[in-house]
Symmetry: C2
Subunit: 104 residues, 2 copies
Amino acid sequence: MDKTLHHPDRDQIELAAVLDALSDPIRLQIVQRLAKAGEASCSSFLDYGTKTNLTYHLKRLREAGVTRARAEGAFRYISLRNEDLEARFPGVLAAILANIQDAA
Amino acid sequence: MDKTLHHPDRDQIELAAVLDALSDPIRLQIVQRLAKAGEASCSSFLDYGTKTNLTYHLKRLREAGVTRARAEGAFRYISLRNEDLEARFPGVLAAILANIQDAA
DNA sequence: GCAATAGTTCAAGGATTGTTGAACTTATAG
DNA sequence: CTATAAGTTCAACAATCCTTGAACTATTGC
């Protein structure tokens, strides 16, 4: 496994990419849960899809700069890049988070 | 031509669809210009793409509930559904508009 | 060591996206 | 009526997206 997964720098995060990452219902649910839980392992999202599918969606979120992945042993802990996003695109994530409807 | 183009009702507008509509650089530029100009004809966006291509992007914006199209003679005037979006997803459009960088 | 768990990579497939040119409809101008 | 301009529809195409199962790597526990 790559020791350092690819995360874009704060100032390389692009608005269109962030919105694209958040344009999928599954990824919106993931982000909503992260907003509540703060940090969560990949497998805690298994109710949203298969393992492979989650790897895919979590990768899209990460590469868009929406989330960060931290490796700890066999686990990956995912969290929102809240401060980075707020610094780069003030208000955007907060407004979206406030409007994700629960479940689907 | 259809007298009434399809526009979703305010409460049928979905967050994921709005974000998807705004996840394309061309459509972001269109929306930015609409925010400044208030109302504009299709052809006023010709510097962003071909006629056919604009029909495509404007349709995506309209069907997502982001814009409204009003026919007047041979023209179509496009505008943002500002109040509808603010009522449905408070703060979202405003935050995004405030963060679209000019040009590309 | 061996087995189990966490997660990724690969390859495949169908669905959607973005783009274009040609042909079309509708409306205005002369 | 004829010509022109505003937009749309259609058909095609390459590219990307989402989903899956099988095979893989890496870590933990016994």
